[in-house]
């Protein structure tokens, strides 16, 4: 039998390995505290998690990606709360000198044309970016997966129908749709926000905004909806592709031989086995959503001030370029690192999530050198 934990004695677990091990042990002890006997029943799964991190730890880009992503997710969640200033505090009314003040004068990274602290804006912007990417992905992915599963599993005419509709959406440029939506939707959205107080509360809480900003949200939401609408076809595609190969596998046939229904086979047998490549795609996609959203805001379609948004900061700052270079460089760099983080992570997840690939990765770890080194 292959043992799961088989790092030989000649290998030292690296510091990263130990950190990830203790992180997993921590998670496991929490779960076991809630559900008795969980650890015993899931020994293999826990060992597999550890192996997954070992594999990730062997890939420096993956580690950097995970590090960047962790930072940006952390900032997205908590950033607005420990920002030095509020995003809607305009120091320019108290002190005219804060107008486009360069880095170091009043604030660490300088100020925008309202005298607002750039650090606080970037922290607030991290929230905007994170919430939008999560919502777009959450709206797009399940729909895409569902359609892809159904198309791939049943094939034939159903497949044709679903995939041609998907093609239609794929042919739709998100930019044009976003422009159209930005023109049409905001009024309806404001109506909704103003009439459904719970929706308003939830949205404000999500974006960490004050109540008076409710009216400014509508254009941002319009862009978000436009993106969600064009985002699912990619998932339908990859899900269908993976489903096509997976439905031929013998365990699917074995499930049929027991008498399982198609829906059960899809949910219990196919989906768990294709979720790996989908997760990779989701990770890579987070970067794309962040970039697209920033791009649309840069074109003036998304966030409206005073809502902080990385793309919007660059858009506003571009009027004062090159004098106020910090308004371009810093948000630009932030977007760059955020997207880079997701992409690096996604690329190495591809190897890490596949149990077979994971085992064949070359073990690049320092080891006592054999006596004689061969070419």
């Amino acid at each position: 039998m292959q043992e799961v934990e088989q790092l030989g004695e000649e290998y030292q677990r690296s510091i990263l390995d130990r950190i990830s091990d203790s992180f997993i042990e921590f998670l496991v002890s929490i779960i076991s505290a809630v559900r008795k006997g969980w650890r015993e029943k899931n020994r293999s799964r826990i060992a597999e998690w550890k192996l997954m991190f070992y594999a990730l730890n062997r890939s420096p880009p993956g580690v950097i990606g995970l590090f960047l992503v962790t930072i940006f997710v952390f900032l997205g969640i908590f950033g607005p709360y420990f920002a030095p200033y509020k995003y809607n505090y305009f120091p320019i009314f108290d002190n005219g000198d804060t107008y486009l003040s360069p880095p170091g004068q009043f604030f660490l990274l300088g100020a925008d044309h309202f005298g607002r602290d750039l650090v606080s804006l970037l922290l607030q912007g991290a929230r905007t970016s994170l919430v939008i990417s999560v919502i777009v992905i959450l709206m797009g992915v399940p729909l895409g997966i569902l359609l892809g599963l159904v198309a791939g599993y049943f094939g034939g005419k159903i497949d044709e129908l679903i995939m041609r509709v998907t093609d239609m959406f794929l042919a739709f440029p998100p930019l044009i749709l976003a422009i159209a939506f930005a023109a049409v939707l905001p009024e309806r959205i404001s109506y909704l926000i103003n009439n459904y107080i719970y929706l308003q509360q939830i949205l404000l809480w999500l974006f960490a905004l004050d109540a008076r900003e409710a009216g400014n949200l509508s254009r941002l939401l319009a862009v978000m909806i436009a993106m969600a609408i064009v985002w699912w076809p990619g998932y339908a595609r990859i899900t269908r592709g993976s489903t096509l190969t997976e439905r031929e596998s013998l365990y699917v046939e074995s499930a049929k031989a027991i008498g399982l229904s198609s829906a059960k086979i899809m949910a219990k047998h196919i989906l768990p086995n294709i979720i790996g490549p989908i997760l990779v795609y989701v990770t890579l996609d987070f970067g794309s959503v962040v970039l697209t959203e920033a791009g649309l805001s840069f074109l003036g379609l998304g966030a409206t001030p005073p809502i902080a948004d990385w793309g919007r900061i660059v858009y506003d700052g571009s009027q004062f370029f090159p004098k106020a270079w910090w308004l371009i460089i810093f948000p630009g760099a932030i977007v760059l690192f955020d997207v880079l983080g997701w992409n690096l992570l996604g690329d190495s997840l591809r190897d890490v999530l596949d149990p077979k690939l994971r085992r064949s990765i070359e073990f690049k770890v320092k080891r006592k050198k054999p006596k004689e080194e061969r070419r």
Binding site: E40, N42, S44, E253, S254, A257, L260, K264, P272, P355
Partner: protein
């Protein structure tokens, strides 16, 4: 082994009432799709008739593409037959609707060739074995004890309960698959090349387990394989398939003693015997060429282009299965 001795009495002629499964004129044509029209049919199984008696192992041998696997799957209606009847325990399962199929699925199961893909890699052994029971709503008092009991029956143990398939070797996976099948207490199991992906030392283990369990649980097997040595070891009765047709069928010992169809002869002569004294000296009947495509099978007897004994009639008229012994039929113009 005690069960085995009782069973050998089935091999010489019982009344048809002891038949668990009767396959009558089974046909399976796969359409070949062109751009707009169906271009033709792959005649994977063409007019196959045989019966399997209760408690026996019926071996089905032939080379790749001969349709043996399709027969196995069609019998379980994992593939819908094009034509013909499949009579299980006196009832024609081709006419079954959902409710009857549920009944049939509990009685008849299949074990697949490739243990590396027949188990869902995301399920633990416990989930894999319990799935059939859960699906059919069978009440199990203590699921863990139930699964452990099954695992022990197939030669695994308690420690394997919460592990994933990739932690097991090929032979052990086949045992897990077997435990899953046995969880429903079936009567009939199709064994589709259950050991062809395994090494010989492991293969012997699995074959022995299958034999023991057959005796213990009174199972009936349809044993599909390309390996004659294994089929000889396992089966009481035997059918030889070539290009979608059954060419010879009957008592296994009888066929091995005196193969009649030229294809069966060639097949027997081609297996290398694991004994250099015999193997290096034996005369071989090496047939020329390879099996033709089942899309346009040869006219008449499908084996005639490769047959060293082919006569004129062989290319013109298709031979029917003819009774040549007490339990021995052959489809060949030579007899």
């Amino acid at each position: 082994m005690e069960g085995m001795q009782g069973m050998s009495s089935f091999s010489n002629g019982f009344s048809s009432s002891s038949n668990l499964l009767e396959v009558r004129n089974l046909k399976k044509y796969f359409p070949l799709k062109g751009l707009f029209f169906t271009k033709g049919y792959v005649k994977a199984v063409d007019n196959v008739t045989f019966e399997i008696r209760k408690g026996e192992t019926f071996g089905l041998v032939g080379e790749s593409g001969c349709g043996k696997t399709t027969v196995g799957r069609t019998i379980l209606r994992l593939i819908e037959p094009t034509d013909g009847q499949i009579i299980y325990d006196g009832r024609d399962i081709t006419k079954f609707k959902k409710k009857d199929m549920d009944w049939f699925r509990r009685k008849a199961q299949i074990m697949f060739q490739d243990p590396y893909s027949s188990l869902n890699p995301r399920q633990t052994v416990f989930q894999i074995v319990m799935e059939p029971v859960n699906h059919h709503g069978i009440d199990v008092h203590d699921p863990e004890a139930f699964v452990i009991d099954l695992l022990e029956k197939v030669g695994l143990n308690e420690g394997h309960l919460y592990r994933y398939p990739h932690e097991f070797s090929g032979g052990q996976r086949q045992r897990i698959a077997l435990a899953r099948i046995l969880s429903l207490k079936p009567e009939f199991v199709v064994l589709d090349e259950p050991t062809s992906a395994l090494d010989v030392s492991v293969q012997a283990n699995i074959l022995n387990t299958l034999k023991d369990i057959q005796g213990e649980l009174d199972l009936t097997y349809l044993f599909i394989s390309h390996d004659l040595a294994i089929v000889k070891y396992m089966s009481h009765r035997l059918g030889v398939m070539y290009l979608g047709k059954l060419v010879e069928v009957g008592n296994s010992d009888g066929i091995f003693e005196e193969p009649l169809h030229p294809y069966t002869k060639a097949l027997f002569s081609a297996i290398p015997i694991p004994d250099p004294e015999i193997e290096k000296r034996k005369e071989k009947l090496v047939v020329k060429g390879e099996p033709p495509s089942p899309i346009n099978p040869p006219s008449g007897c499908r084996f005639h282009p490769r047959c060293p004994f082919a006569r004129e009639i062989c290319s013109q008229k298709e031979p029917e299965l003819k009774k040549v012994g007490s339990d021995h039929e052959v489809a060949c113009w030579l007899y």
